[in-house]
Structure formats: structure tokens, C-alpha cells
């Protein structure tokens, strides 16, 4: 079974081991230790870590298309945001009549902007299963339509990057419009509960953190399974020599579309997990700058290695947390410097550094790592 293949890889086993252990340790330190213990992990920190993990899942999704398929998407923030909005709409509906104006159906922002009924695209979001489905379907559908058009006409390289940017930019402008019915610039906020769990309670926050960790683990395994399959090898072939792959009889555009859609759906899931943890979703998640930043996480961690994307996302965002607290003015210098240094001097990212350091080990393991094991 292709999905179980990654579990037999040592790198995946290690990754999952570390991730699950981290989840367990944080949970333990949060629950079991009293608040004044120096090792106690506060709920604030747990939520912060949860946010990093959702970013990590997003980075994995980007790495899947950029690292393995060679498509530099500068619009993945759009899929992330769409997933987030789907979740946000569900959470808004959960507020029910506890909003400021006490309207049982309409969210507050609709009440004071004089909407008299819910627009059609808000229907169904009071049902969790529908909302969770849309978390995947909305970004998936956008990726399907966009990808179908783009790959069919063989828009590649820079052109593709630029039009993905145009896509997320257009969506940002659209979501900013108050007429769209997504709360305009203010977005969606003031969430109360998720599946009847109070979003303000510590237990829910811990639960969300764990759920995000598990989603990351699943997302990682799915991506790993795709990458390790023959389809993954076709992707890499497409990345390196698209025309050649075509001449071998592969319908490259369909492979690109498939991977692109999977990646968009993963990004949507990441967005959906992100929103309840930070408590707001607004159009700035669509901003092209954010999408470029995601690419940096991947580049820093190491393009084409999924664990690298995870490391990159967590590292950059941790640095952001520290810098914006300690020396706010330096943050953009640090981020900008990172972009330059990583691309110029560290093209393979942190994962590349690790790989270089342990090249010998890997070569040694490769020689007795027969293709039967790898491909079975």
C-alpha cells in the first residue's frame, strides 16, 4: 500500500518520533507541572507552538510543489487563507445569538452593514462536517481551476510564479471588499467555541496544539508517500526536465495539477488549524508578501526535504517571536538578511548543511539500502 510506504523509511520514523515526543513532552510540561515551576510550559507558549506547527504544515505543502515539482508558488498563502476562512466561517456561525446584536444567524459585521440575510456561500457552514470539508475543497477547487488553466497552457517558471502572485493579490483585494461578505479588512474574529469546546479554555488550546501536531504528522506522511512513489519520481523528473518527461509519455500537466491540488488542500488544513489558535482571519493572509515569506521558510530549511521545510518554518517564526519582542527594529533586517544569505550561500538550506555533514553516513547507508527496500 503506497500510503504505508513512508512508515518503513527511517527518516520518517525519526521525524514522527521527534514530533510525537515533542507533543507528549509539551503536553506533560503544561499539564503536570505547576505554573511556578521553571519548566512549566504556559498555555501561551503552547498556543505559540501550535501556530508554528500550522505554519510548518503550510511549509510542507509548499515544499511539495516547489521542492519536488519545481513550481515556485508565490500564492500558497491564498490556499492557507481560504482554509482559514472556511474555518472562520464555521466559528462565526457557532457564535449564534451571542453576538453583540444578538442576531441568531447573521454575524455582527453583517448586522451593522445591513445585510438582511446570509449570503448563499455562508450556508452550510453551521455544520462542522460541511465546514471541515470546505476547508479542503475550497482551496482544492481554486487550485484545480487555476492549475488546470496554467498547466494546460504550460505556463512555467517565472511566469507561473508571477501569476500565482497575481492570484493571491486579486483575492486579497476581493476579500478586502466589504461587499464580499467576509468581514472586509476586519475579517472574522471573536470566536467562541469549536465543536462545543470553549476556545478560551486552556484545555481546548492544548487540544488544538495536539491536533495541529497530528495534522502535521499526517500531512508529512502523505507528502512523503507521494514523494516516495513513482509519482514522486515523475514529479522530480518534471522538475528537472519537463519536456523530457512529456516525451516519455507522461501527461505532465495532470501530474502537476494533482500534486498542486493536494498541496493546496494541505495548505487549507494548515489555515484551518491556524485560525482558532490565533483567533482571527483577515485578508492580510492573502498578501503576496506572506506567500513569499513561506517560500523563505522552505528555502532556509532546505528545499526538497520535507523535514527541512518543517525546521525552516519553526525556526523563522520562532526568530520572529523573539525579535519582535526584543528588538523590533531589527526584525526586517534579520529577515531580509536571511533571504539573501540563504539563497546565496546556503542554497540547500539547513537540511543541506546536515546532509553535507553526514554525507559519509548516508553514502554508507545507501550502499546497503537496496532498491527493493526503498521501492517495495
Amino acid at each position: 500500500m503506497w500510503l504505508t510506504r513512508p512508515f518503513r523509511e527511517r527518516s520518517t520514523q525519526l521525524f514522527l518520533g521527534v514530533l510525537l515526543a515533542a507533543l507528549a513532552i509539551v503536553t506533560f510540561l503544561n499539564l503536570a507541572l505547576p505554573a511556578d515551576n521553571p519548566l512549566h510550559v504556559s498555555t501561551y507558549t503552547v498556543t505559540l507552538l501550535g501556530k508554528y506547527l500550522s505554519y510548518a504544515l503550510l511549509a510542507v505543502a509548499v515544499d511539495l510543489v516547489w521542492g519536488y515539482l519545481g513550481i515556485l508558488s508565490l500564492g500558497h498563502g491564498a490556499f492557507f487563507a481560504l482554509g482559514g476562512y472556511a474555518m472562520g466561517m464555521y466559528l462565526m456561525r457557532q457564535i449564534g445569538d451571542r453576538g453583540t446584536y444578538g442576531d441568531p444567524v447573521l454575524p455582527d459585521f453583517m448586522v451593522f452593514l445591513d445585510w438582511d440575510s446570509l449570503p448563499w456561500y455562508w450556508l452550510g457552514f453551521d455544520m462542522p462536517w460541511f465546514a471541515f470539508l470546505m476547508v479542503m475543497l475550497a482551496p482544492g477547487l481554486l487550485a484545480l481551476v487555476f492549475g488546470f488553466l496554467a498547466f494546460r497552457s504550460r505556463v512555467t517558471g517565472v511566469y507561473l510564479s508571477i501569476i500565482t502572485q497575481a492570484m493571491t493579490f486579486a483575492l486579497m483585494l476581493a476579500f478586502f471588499r466589504n461587499e464580499m461578505g467576509f468581514g472586509g479588512n476586519n475579517g472574522l474574529t471573536d470566536f467562541r467555541e469549536l465543536l462545543n469546546f470553549d476556545l478560551r479554555s486552556d484545555a481546548t488550546r492544548l487540544g488544538l496544539f495536539i491536533a495541529t501536531g497530528i495534522a502535521l504528522a499526517l500531512g508529512y506522511v502523505i507528502c512523503r508517500a507521494i514523494v516516495a512513489s513513482k509519482l514522486g519520481r515523475v514529479s522530480v523528473a518534471t522538475r528537472d526536465a519537463e519536456a523530457r518527461t512529456r516525451f516519455l509519455g507522461y501527461r505532465v500537466e495532470r501530474f502537476q495539477l494533482f500534486v498542486f491540488v493536494v498541496s493546496a488542500m494541505l495548505a487549507g488544513v494548515a489555515g484551518a488549524l491556524y485560525v482558532p489558535q490565533v483567533g482571527i482571519i483577515n485578508p492580510s493572509e492573502f498578501s503576496p508578501i506572506f506567500s513569499i515569506e513561506i517560500v523563505l521558510w522552505v528555502a532556509l530549511g532546505g528545499r526538497g526535504t520535507l523535514y527541512g521545510a518543517v525546521i525552516g518554518a519553526i525556526l523563522v517564526n520562532y526568530a520572529k517571536t523573539v525579535f519582535t519582542g526584543a528588538m523590533p527594529d531589527a526584525w526586517l533586517f534579520a529577515l531580509g538578511g536571511l533571504f539573501v544569505l540563504v539563497t546565496v550561500f546556503l542554497p540547500k538550506g539547513i537540511a543541506g548543511l546536515l546532509a553535507y555533514r553526514f554525507k559519509r553516513d548516508r553514502q554508507a547507508s545507501r550502499s546497503h539500502d537496496s532498491p527493493k527496500e526503498a521501492a517495495a
Binding site: 505556463v155 527594529d329 531580509g336
Partner: protein, 535 residues
């Protein structure tokens, strides 16, 4: 400071205007002046209005200056001594002043000790028409025309007679026509139906305003006639508004072309995706600001000098970027995107830290303010007209450089076959540097132009970078003509759409259009064909 050219007739007119007997002997007397000004230092605007009238009718030679300074908010009163002064420079805490009675230097005063003689828009209107009447007697035809235009709609009963006389003695036909229209508006307001005939066909907005209010007249005959006249005017205006939209579109397009053309060189010719392009534009704009700081009081000269300076500053920054980053990323276009994005963040923050996070003031020189009047209903804003012209000149120069110079030849050679060009003795590295410097310098020029249209601040570049890329990609990478056509047509499309769907949707529609267009023609409007383009 303008001289008072024809003082006595103006005074006469004004006296008639307010129905007062003129004080014949010109008083130079300190006390009388102080008394006149003292009357202004009251809080009620009605009282101020009366005080202004008495200044006008006083016949004091200084009254014109007083009125102008009052209009400019520079006439102030020292709180303790009650002395009136004119503030020369009102920024900072201590202001240099001159005495309002003798116009002699009075040193510096703290703004804390000064009371401004405040005016409101009603008084401002009163002062402006008073000054306009004075201007009707100047020798300068343009000033007289402006004055006559200013009086449209503000002619009142007292002014009718003197203005009629003036029409008789005026040489300039345009001034006559305007004065007659002014009188006609007055008559129309009085309910005179014949006045409408005189106003027919005028595109002036004040004439239209007068006709519009006439359509609400109690007299149905007047109302109908006014509606008919308006209908005729509206028809003429429709052509105007079409032309206006085209101008708006070309103007927006020229901004896009300017912002994108440097990118067309670095991106199209060198294959470098320079995300710091916007910041190079920003540097050009800041150079303009710096020039104006260095040459205070001469914004025009500073702007002209900023053109070469902006080019050089951005070109140098470009060279630094090329040497520092891009040369290590040959043949990896997507990675130049990431690295230069980092550079753009650094440059932005640098400007914030070194200069200020706040926007800077860039002054428009006199000759770039206002608009060029094509007819009464259509005028082209001068700053945008200049930018449009500037964009075309820059484009033409670039075409010349690429087509007719050694550099252009070498650039094209290196673009087409790097190895071969090297073998023929072209120093490819040098060509890279020069090309990048050229593209960056052009970005600097764009910045100089944009400083006349929008904010000069750290975010300036970000607002243009995405649009620039869209233009280049839409036009076809590596084709300067494509960039020109793409920029101008996107500008026109945007402006044509805007009145229909609003600014935001227009922009979204344009973006979606570009996305779909790229699907149809993946290599833009004017693609490079053949094997070279595949690489």
C-alpha cells in the same frame, strides 16, 4: 510679491461694491492702520467680515498686502503687546516676523505668544473675490483671465455697473467673455430668462452650477430653458469625459510603464527577477526629497537636478545589488527573486531607520501644479501630463540606448549567447553590471516622477512592484515595446472600468484578465520566439 498696479480704479470699484464713500486721502498713519487691524482681532466671523470691508474701503496702500497675508493665515497679533506682525516662516517653534504696519523686520517670535487672525471658508471667498476684482486691473492678461474666471458665480448687484464698464474697456476678448458670463450668471440668478442664451454652450462648471440651480427655479419658463441649455452642454461634455477617461488611462499607464520599464530591462534582458525594484524606485523618490532639502525654496530646480541624481543613486544601488547578490545566482532566476526580496526588506527598513518611518514632503514646483486647460470643461492635470511626457522620453532614450549604442549591442549579444559573446571579446560581467545599473537607474527616474504623484515613504516601492511585474509579463519578457503597450493599455482598461465597477473591482478584473491572458499566451503580448526563448 506682486506690485499693486492699478490701484485707484480697483478701489473705486470696491467702494461702489460696498456702497461706501471712499476715504480719499491715503493714510500712512500708524494709528489708523493699527485700528483697522485691531478690528480683525475679534472672534465673530461677521465682525471680521466687516473689518475686512473697512480695510478694503480704507484706501490704505497696505491693504492689499494685509488681505493677502490674512488669506494666507500669516497675519498675526502678539498677545501681550497687541502688535500686528506678518509671519514669514511658520514652521518650528520660533517664527521670523515683520511688522505688519511698517513691513520692517521684527526679529523672531515664539508661536506661543502669537495669535493668528483666523478666517473661515466664507471669509476666504470674500477675500478671494476682493483680490480678484483688484486683479482685473492688472496688466497681465493671464491674471485678468484668472480673476474674471474667479468672479464667475460671485458677481453681486453692487458689482454689476462697474463690471459693465470694465467689459467696455477691456481689450482681451476672453476676459470680456468671462465677465459677460459672470454678469449673465448674476442675471440668471435674478430670474432673467434671456441670460440663458448667453450661457449656452459654456462648459464651465460654475456656469453649469448656475444653470442647474436655475432648473429648480419657480418660473417654469426659466427652468425649462435652463434644462434645455444644460442638455446641450451635457452632450458636449460627453465627448470631453471620453477624452478625459482616455487621458486618465494614459496617465495611469505612463506611471505603470515608468515603474515597469526598468524591470523590463533587468528581468527581460538579464532574466533577473528583481523584487527590490520597487525600493530602487523609492530611492529615486527619496533623492528628489533630498534634493529639495538641499535647495530650499527652489523645488523646480531641485526636481530637474533630481532626474540625473535619482538615476545615479539608484544605479549605484543597483550595482551594489548586482555585485553583492545577483552575480552569485547566475542562471537561477527564481532564487534571484528570493534574494532580492530580502534586499527589498533591508532597504525599506534602512530608510525607516535612517530617515524616518514617516512620509516625506516633496513639493510640486509651480509649473507642475494645476492643469492645462484644453477647453472650459476639459483640463489636463499638469503633473500627470509631465509624467506622461517623461515616461515617453525615458522610453525613447532606452530604445536608443538598446538599438544604437555599443552597450545596447553588447547587451543583446550577451542575452542571446553568453558564451559566444564572451568569445568575441565582450566582457560579459561588465555588460551585466551595466545592464543592471541601467535598469536600476531607470527605476530611480520612475521614483523621481512618482514623487510628484504619491507618497514618498518607505512603502512606496511595495505599492508598485506587483503591478510592474504584471506589466512586464503581460507585455512579453524581453520586449520593451511590449512593456510600453502593456502599461498603457492596462492603464486605459483600468480607468475605463473604474467608473463602472469601482476602483477595487477594476483592479481585480485587470488582474484576472492578466492571469487568463497568460494562459492564452504564456509568453505575453509580444513573445520572443524560437529556440533562444526556450532556454
Amino acid at each position: 510679491m506682486r506690485m499693486i498696479r492699478s490701484f485707484v480704479p480697483g478701489l473705486l470699484l470696491l467702494c461702489l461694491l460696498f456702497g461706501l464713500v471712499p476715504v480719499v486721502q491715503a493714510q500712512e498713519d500708524e494709528a489708523a492702520g493699527q485700528a483697522l487691524l485691531e478690528a480683525l482681532a475679534v472672534s465673530s466671523y461677521e465682525a471680521k467680515s466687516e473689518a475686512i470691508e473697512s480695510i478694503i474701503t480704507s484706501g490704505d496702500e497696505r491693504s492689499r498686502r494685509w488681505l493677502e497675508e490674512l488669506l494666507g493665515g500669516k497675519l498675526q497679533r502678539h498677545k501681550e503687546t497687541g502688535r500686528f506682525v506678518i509671519v514669514l516662516e511658520n514652521r518650528g517653534r520660533n517664527w521670523p516676523v515683520i511688522d505688519a504696519l511698517s513691513f520692517e523686520d521684527a526679529g523672531e517670535m515664539s508661536r506661543r505668544d502669537l495669535d493668528r487672525i483666523g478666517i473661515n471658508n466664507a471669509l476666504r471667498g470674500q477675500l478671494q473675490s476682493a483680490l480678484a476684482v483688484l486683479d482685473l486691473y492688472t496688466d497681465d492678461v493671464d491674471d485678468r483671465r484668472d480673476a474674471a474666471r474667479e468672479l464667475l458665480g460671485s458677481v453681486d448687484a453692487a458689482m454689476v455697473e462697474p463690471l459693465r464698464e470694465l467689459v467696455g474697456s477691456e481689450d482681451d476678448a476672453e476676459v470680456r467673455r468671462l465677465l459677460e458670463q459672470g454678469l449673465a450668471i448674476h442675471r440668471l440668478n435674478e430670474g432673467d430668462i434671456d441670460a440663458i442664451a448667453e450661457l449656452e454652450g459654456s462648459l464651465n462648471s460654475r456656469v453649469r452650477a448656475a444653470l442647474n440651480s436655475a432648473t429648480r427655479s419657480d418660473n417654469p419658463l426659466v427652468a425649462d430653458a435652463a434644462s434645455a441649455a444644460l442638455l446641450d452642454i451635457e452632450q458636449k461634455l460627453r465627448i470631453n469625459s471620453g477624452l478625459e477617461t482616455l487621458y486618465f488611462g494614459l496617465s495611469l499607464g505612463s506611471v505603470l510603464v515608468l515603474a515597469a520599464i526598468g524591470l523590463a530591462i533587468t528581468f527581460g534582458v538579464m532574466g533577473v527577477i528583481n523584487m527590490a525594484h520597487g525600493e530602487l524606485i523609492m530611492l529615486g523618490a527619496y533623492t528628489t526629497w533630498g534634493m529639495q532639502q538641499m535647495l530650499p525654496g527652489q523645488p523646480g530646480l531641485a526636481l530637474v537636478l533630481a532626474i540625473p541624481a535619482g538615476f545615479v543613486v539608484s544605479a549605484l544601488a543597483g550595482i551594489a545589488i548586482e555585485r553583492g547578490v545577483i552575480q552569485f545566482l547566475k542562471g537561477r532566476p527564481l532564487e534571484t527573486l528570493l534574494a532580492t526580496f530580502g534586499v527589498s526588506l533591508i532597504l525599506q527598513q534602512l530608510v525607516r531607520t535612517v530617515i524616518s518611518p514617516l512620509n516625506r514632503t516633496v513639493v510640486s514646483p509651480e509649473w507642475m501644479s494645476g492643469s492645462l486647460m484644453i477647453n472650459e470643461g476639459l483640463s489636463l492635470t499638469l503633473n500627470r501630463l509631465f509624467v506622461l511626457g517623461f515616461a515617453l522620453v525615458v522610453f525613447a532614450c532606452l530604445m536608443l540606448v538598446m538599438r544604437r549604442t555599443r552597450l545596447g549591442l553588447e547587451v543583446r549579444a550577451v542575452t542571446q549567447n553568453r558564451a559566444m559573446a564572451r568569445a568575441m571579446g565582450i566582457r560579459a560581467t561588465r555588460v551585466d553590471i551595466m545592464t543592471f545599473a541601467l535598469g536600476s537607474g531607470v527605476a530611480g527616474l520612475a521614483g523621481v516622477a512618482l514623487s510628484q504623484l504619491t507618497n514618498v515613504g518607505p512603502n512606496l516601492g511595495q505599492n508598485y512592484i506587483i503591478d510592474s511585474f504584471m506589466v512586464v509579463v503581460f507585455g512579453g519578457v524581453g520586449n520593451l515595446w511590449g512593456t510600453l503597450v502593456a502599461g498603457l493599455s492596462l492603464g486605459v482598461i483600468n480607468q475605463v472600468l473604474e467608473p463602472w465597477v469601482g476602483a477595487v473591482l477594476a483592479k481585480i478584473v485587470v488582474l484576472v484578465f492578466i492571469i487568463l491572458f497568460i494562459q492564452k499566451r504564456p509568453r505575453g503580448l509580444f513573445p520572443q520566439k524560437g529556440r533562444a526563448a526556450e532556454g
